[in-house]
Structure formats: C-alpha cells, structure tokens
Symmetry: C3
Subunit: 356 residues, 3 copies
C-alpha cells in the first residue's frame, strides 16, 4: 500500500495496552503484536512467527518474552529467539522476528515501521500540550474507519465541510465555506486557519459562554505534519477578539493506515475550560466519537466505496478554494513517499522486503 514508512505512526492509545494482554493490530498491512514488559515498557514486533508464520498473539507471555503457540519458540522483546524446545535447541539465524520501535508519549504509542536504523524518538511530533495535563482535562479516543487514511486527512484539513455535514454540536452555520482561509507552510507542516463571527455560537461552546444566544468570535486552525497528524485549535470568545480569554479546545487527530481502504483513527483532546470536571471530559469525548461515527464516517465510507482503490488524482477532482490545505498536505506526503521510494538504500530494502 502507498504510505510513508520512515516516520512515526500512532499504533495504539497507551491505555489500550494493559499490563498483561497482547494487542494485535494491522498497521500498513503488517500484523503487529504489542505488549508491555513487566516494567511497563511497551514493545512491538511483527505478529508472525518466523518458523511457520502463526500469529504470535495466539501464544503466551513468558516473563517479558513471547512464546509461539504452535511449536513453542520463544522471542524476546527485540524479536530475538531466546529458546527453541526442538532437538538440541539450536536456533537458526532466520528465527528472528522483525521488531519495531514503540515509544509511549502523550498517551499514545508511536511506532516506526520503516528502516529501524532511522527510528529516532526526536522525530515524534512535539505536542507538549499533551504532557502532564490534569487527568480530567484530557481524553484519548480511538475509532476504526473503513476508508483510506488520506480521505480522513482531506476531511480534517478542509473544515469547510463542517458547514454542510455537522449538526448542532459542531455547527459553523456556513461561515467557513465563503472564506479563503490563509494557508501557511514551513519545512515541516501545513497550517490553515479560519476566523469568523457566529450567532448563536457553535453548540460545543455556546452553553459555556457568557451569552449563549449571542454572537461569538470563533476560530479554528489545523496544523498538519507528515504523514497524517493533525493538531486542531478551536476557540470562541465573546465581547472581544482576544481568543486567549475565551474557550479553547485542542484536538489531535492522528491517523494510521491499516490497509489501502481502512484506517486507525486516534485522537487526543484538551481544553482550557471545566478542566477539573471528569464527567464533562468523558461526555466531550463520547460526543466527539458519536459525531464522527454518525456524521463523518457514513460520508467518508461512501466516498471510499465510490472511489474504490482508484488513485485520487486519476479521477481528476474539481478543486475548490477550500482544498488548498488538503491538497498541499497530499502533495507533501506524496513527495516524501516518492523520495523514500527513490532512495537507493530504500529501493534495496524494498526489494528485500518483497522477497522476505
């Protein structure tokens, strides 16, 4: 499948990986086994025994190691075979499992599916806002989406769709579409920002603003970084344009391809209001997931079904002003993938993978 490999993807929410159980998830068409060592360190390796290709996740934990159900080969968390019960116990060189760097940060587990030598935790996106928040002020969520991950990036990078798709909670009342929102880029990111007045304010904020039925200054900005991480800042204030004095919600939408036509959608959400209200925190997460599942997903799944696996550009889309940011993100990602594929080193690796 078409995807950047030398990059960090979210593989799971930190809370999805409990102390004991295995978690098996397909990422970029590869079956990945994740678990925590006794000291809590999360680890990841291919969920495939190198002997007969049974999923290791059917096996069991032996301390910090994994024992294959089928013939009892045991692997440490680096994928090295530490024990074979067979014959004289000799372990052939091939009996090693591909392991992946897996780093816990910001409530997510980040995985590097590319060249292991290039896995550098400094390349994980910097989301300091997610560090050390009050537990009642931050929520992490996960959804499975039956669509290619770039369709989800398109969705988030072009929030003009909110005018048309979303109900009262996220209603923007048609204020986004008429804008040509400024799009700014640096070496690493694409950023798009909308500002507008709305009366009454968006349902997410209205009940918490001084005048729930009055006019509010609102804004939303989305910062994309490769391959498919989006950081949203959404705000509303009344009586001034000093957004810092208003309500702000920060939302991280981090999507990871499962296959050509399905995606793992992770998010993290914070805010500067009602931060010590755990019930509000839970309800906000639940409402967000409900909104995506009922308003975005049917549309994106239908779009996926209509497009199939035909290349997006080959369908010659009619581009509108609202597409600027999503198209820039698509093109930057494509450029990175092309560079990755063109690198002689990676071409050699790809050839090895193909015969591995």
């Amino acid at each position: 499948m078409k995807a950047l490999r030398n990059t960090w993807y979210v593989a799971a929410l930190a809370k999805e990986l409990d102390a004991q159980a295995f978690l098996s998830r397909k990422l970029l068409d590869v079956s990945v086994l994740m678990y925590r060592k006794a000291d809590g360190t999360p680890v990841a390796m291919q969920d495939r025994c190198p002997h007969r290709f049974a999923p290791l996740s059917l096996g069991k934990r032996v301390g910090d190691e994994v024992q294959c159900l089928y013939h009892g080969l045991r692997f440490d968390s680096n994928g090295a075979c530490t024990h074979s019960p067979h014959g004289d116990g000799q372990v052939p060189a091939r009996a090693c499992v591909r392991s992946f760097s897996l780093v816990e940060r910001y409530g997510f587990l980040w995985i590097w599916m590319g060249d292991a030598n290039r896995a550098d935790a400094k390349l994980i996106p910097h989301y300091p806002l997610l560090d050390n928040p009050l537990p009642t002020a931050v929520a992490h969520g996960y959804m499975h989406m039956p669509a290619n991950y770039e369709l989800i990036v398109d969705n988030v990078m072009d929030l003009s769709h909110v005018d048309h798709v979303h109900g009262p909670l996220l209603n923007t009342a048609g204020h986004l579409s008429p804008q040509k929102p400024p799009v700014t880029e640096d070496s690493n990111s694409v950023l798009v920002r909308w500002e507008w007045q709305q009366h009454p304010p968006m349902g997410l904020f209205a009940p918490l603003l001084p005048d729930p039925a009055g006019e509010a200054e609102q804004f939303v900005q989305v910062q994309w970084t490769a391959p498919s991480n989006m950081f949203l800042t959404v705000g509303a204030v009344q009586g001034s344009r000093d957004y810092e004095r208003g309500l702000i919600s920060w939302d991280f939408h981090l999507v990871t391809p499962e296959s050509e036509t399905s995606t793992h959608y992770f998010f993290g959400s914070l805010r500067n209001f009602m931060v010590d209200n755990g019930a509000f925190n839970d309800a906000k997460l639940e409402n967000m997931i409900h909104t995506f599942k009922t308003e975005d997903e049917p549309l994106i799944a239908a779009q996926q079904a209509e497009m199939g696996t035909t290349d997006f550009w080959s369908l010659k889309p009619a581009l509108l002003s609202c597409d600027t940011a999503s198209v820039k993100a698509r093109r930057r990602l494509q450029k990175l993938i092309d560079e990755e594929n063109a690198s002689p080193q990676n071409a050699a690796r790809a050839a090895m993978r193909a015969t591995a």
Copy 2:
C-alpha cells in the same frame, strides 16, 4: 464490463421514482442518481460529486437541483454546477457531473449510458401496447438477479426450459423441447415462436378457459431487440386455432446490467382478459415474481457461480436446437459491442473514460 453503451436501458420503473426522493442504482458499473424535477420530469446523473467523489444521493434536493452533502456544491439536472459556497463562488470547469438522458415511457424510465450526442428517444423500443392501458390491466415489476444479464436473455430466448424448470403455473408439459421453433430475424430483432396442444392447459390459463381440464391450442413467441429487451406473447384458445379469440398475455422482460455478475430485471405485463380486475392483476404480478425467484433464480445464480466471469464461448458450450434464438441474440449483441468498440470515435472516448 462487457455491454453495449449506445443504447437505451431501463433504469427503473416509473413508479419507483417518487416525487421527492433520490433513487441511486448501479447501472453498467456506474453509480447513477435519479430523481424527478418539480414538474415530474425524471432526470439522471452520475451519483458522484466531481469534487471529492462523495455520492450525491447522500445530499439533498434544493428545488430541482442536487446539493452535495460533503461541501455543498449544487448541480442542476444537467449536471452543471450552479452554486459553490466556497471562497468567491467560482466554479472550476471540471465541476460538472456526467448526466444521462432519462426518458419516461411505457411505465419505465429509459437511460442512455453511451455518447450523449447520440441519445435519441426514437431509438427506445416501440411498445405501443403499453401505452394507455387500463390501470388494472397492466403491471410493472422489478427483481434484482445475481447473474450476468446475458444468462437471463438466454433463459427467456430459450423457453424450452419451461418444460423442465417450471411448476403448474407455467407448465408446458414437455411440448416445447421437441420443437425446432422457427426463428426469424430482421435488421433489428430476433423472434422465436412455439405452438402446441396441451391437455390440460397451462395453469396460467386453464381456470379461465371454457374447459379447464380439456385440450387447448397454445403458443408463445419472444421477440428480442438489442441489447436485452424481450417481448413475449403467450396465448391459449380452445376449440379453434384462432388465437385472437383466446386468452393472451403480453410480457416485456427488459434487463439491464448492474455489474458483470448482477442484473436489474424489469418487466411489464398485460393481458386481454379480466382487464378490469385489479386484484387479479396484482396476483398475476406477484405469481410471476414468485415463479422467477423460486424457479429460475436459483438455477441462474448457480449457473453464474459455476461459470464465474469466464467468457461463455470459451467454455465451449454444447449447442442444441433450442439454442438457436438465444445464440443469435448473443451474436448480434456481440457484433454491436464490437462495432461500438471499434469505432474510432468511441475508442477515443473509451480512452478518455479510462483516464477520467
């Protein structure tokens, strides 16, 4: 998929398209959106927004226009974009939807999926019998069939199968198979006709004949016209061979490919008896559908499953005398498709379609 494109197909029953709702149906592997304008005129266009390829049928009516759910683009019934809520409202040239001629006639909606410039309503088959009948004397029906449309044409063009497949309602008691029914052709059609004596008569007619247990003169003829329209006349009379004095049923079997392995099966049915009995009319339609669903469909679906998408001729069928009409229909259709594909104009269009 293999199909003639420059021709009229039935896309829906007229009654399937109500005053307000959208109807979305896949025809020749293309998603088609149909609806009626306020004045009742039926219209059809590709069910795919040219912007991001969401199905337009998820959107809404705005007067006689269609508004895409995803980003609010609006299209008139010719597929022209009449409104974009984005930026300065400019509409790019590509923002148009492919529309299709859709003509209401004989209780059906006829669609032209080929070169729009060649869509000529005069080419719709002439079925004057279906004009202005008593409402209680005509019935229109629809079935979805999990098989290639040519297998259904084969079925109807070779009614010798009735001897073997069908129960009391359509029982022909072995009288058709021994015949070598005359097959006549003109530039436009293939016609096959069987005549025989049957004792007692076919269940469809027996209760309405003077002597339900006696002998009847019966006949059935099927006229095929390209691509896959079949007009059946079925009759029974007692005491003479003057069929005009007997009972006659006229049945139109009109099939439209959905995909390589599935078909929309439409029919219209009239008769010269009990014409003002609406309950009889309803029961006859229901019995007809029941017969197809329980007697023909399991067989044709199994035939499709056994053949897969292998070309019929490559399987080297053993041909019998009963196959004459169905083989002529297959060959004439193939010739039309070959001619269509060979036309330089269409070859160019096909190339454009492939990259569109």
Copy 3:
C-alpha cells in the same frame, strides 16, 4: 491451484454417499458430482452441464443417469449424453460431461482428477488395516478446514506441535520437541517416529492402562505418501517396551484440496482395544474431531490468514529439527508436481484445459 493431479484423492467418506442423493463437492477447484448407481457403485463427474453450465446436482436421478434441471439433458454415469429432449434428439459431440474414476475402498471414495487413462486403482494407497474391521472398531470422519492442504500436512508430519498445542487428551508433556526423530524414506513415502516415556501417560491411553497414573512407554509414527495421505500409529505400554502388547491406535489422515485456501480433511481411525465397544468408538471419533476443531483449526486458519496465498518458501521460513519430515514431504510433492507439469503430454492437456 498448485496440486498434483495424476493421483488418488479421497473425495468423500463412503457413508457420506447414500443410496439416492447427489453429493456435490469442490475438489481442486473443480465442482464434482457424486452419487451411487442402483447397484451401489459410486460414480463421479463434473458438476456442470456441458450445455449451459448449470450444476447437474440441481437436477434429478433417472435410474442410474442424471438429468439436468435446466433443459433436461440426461447423462449416464460416464458423462455421456444419453438423451436430449430437444428437436430431433440429436446430441452434439460436445455434450459430454467429464467423468472421474471413483473407487470405494477402506470406507473412503477415492477420486482421480488427472489424466483418465492413467487412473489405476492399484495406485490407491494400501491400507489393509482398514479392510474388514469390526464396525465398532473403526470410525471415519470428515472436517472442512479453512487452510491450504499443505499446512495440514505440515501439522501432522511435525507432531512436536502436540507438546504445545494440545490439551489433556493428546498431551505429550514436552517429550517430542527435544527429539530429533528419525526420518526414513523410500521411493514412495516419508516416515517419522518418536518414542518416549511419559508419566502419567497421554490422556487418550491413561485410563485404559494398568497404572493410569504411572509411567508409560509411548510412541507415534507418521507415514506420508503422496500427495497428502498420512498414516499414524500411536501406542502406549507399561512395564516393557513391547509395544505390541500395549494399546495402539491407527489413524489415517487423508486431506484433499478444495481450493488454494481450503481443504477437505478425512480420517479413519482404528485401535487394538475396546474394539467391540461402539459407544467408545463414537466417543473417540467425536473427541478427535473436537480436538482438531478447537485446538488445531484456529491456529492453522490464523496461519493461513497471515500467509495469504504467498508461496511458503518465498516467506523464508526458519527451519528447525522438527521440520525434517514435513519439509521432505513438501519437497517430494513439489517434485511430483513439477514433473507432472513438465511432461509434454500434460503440458498439452493443461493447455487444453485452459481453453476448455
């Protein structure tokens, strides 16, 4: 699909084919119709009418012949068309069904899917043990398995997996894996044998041994013959190594490809103990099937899902000492398939099949 064709496969248990009913089963991707003639002789032919490719199994018996439901063509048990109700009853040369030799032996029906001229019943594996046993001493079973047949051969040829996969009934308590079991070959077979002491004995034998909680001498050997027939002998004795005085179970595991990714798994089971106890016989078969369905199948199905249709060797398996016998079986089968494909005669036939 990759499979040897000029060989005998089990197509069904003899008891699956009753006196009247058709049995239709896909073997090597070919739909096969089986039934018994009035004298009990089992016969097999392709389950596809040569006229319009409807499955003959939808039709009916007419004496020892088969009549197609669709148009009434009738075929004798050699696949020759004996009657056409059409026209003058002429039967075209192509109107014949491919028939297969089907031989009833040892409670199984053996089919030859290759070159009919080479079907020689002498090539059926010799399993005299299965001749004339007490009805209460022999059991025959069938399971459908969602995996390629070679994965099942691997499973049975490497019984070290029993140490890891199986519960109390077949528990070997880790005694098999440490062995490098001797593997012997002759022109026709691969044989592997394990011997060990176990305390308490395997659950299958323990309750029937003099000292159910004591130590037993145990052994198991598996003889593979092409293409995928495995004959197991399993035994336990106490107080000596004279296995002939102990308990012995003989188990025939005979697997036939259905498709690239699914298999018909047949078995026959005998023993030298409690031979006149029919209830024990039934329970042993039921336990065996239960063990396979709950302990082996989930593993092998997951292995299949993880491998997909990728060639086993291209995945570069890490081979262990326990793999010797299964790898020898795989290589011998591959050699036979390569020889079959390389034969000019068969290459011609394959080409004919491809266009048939």
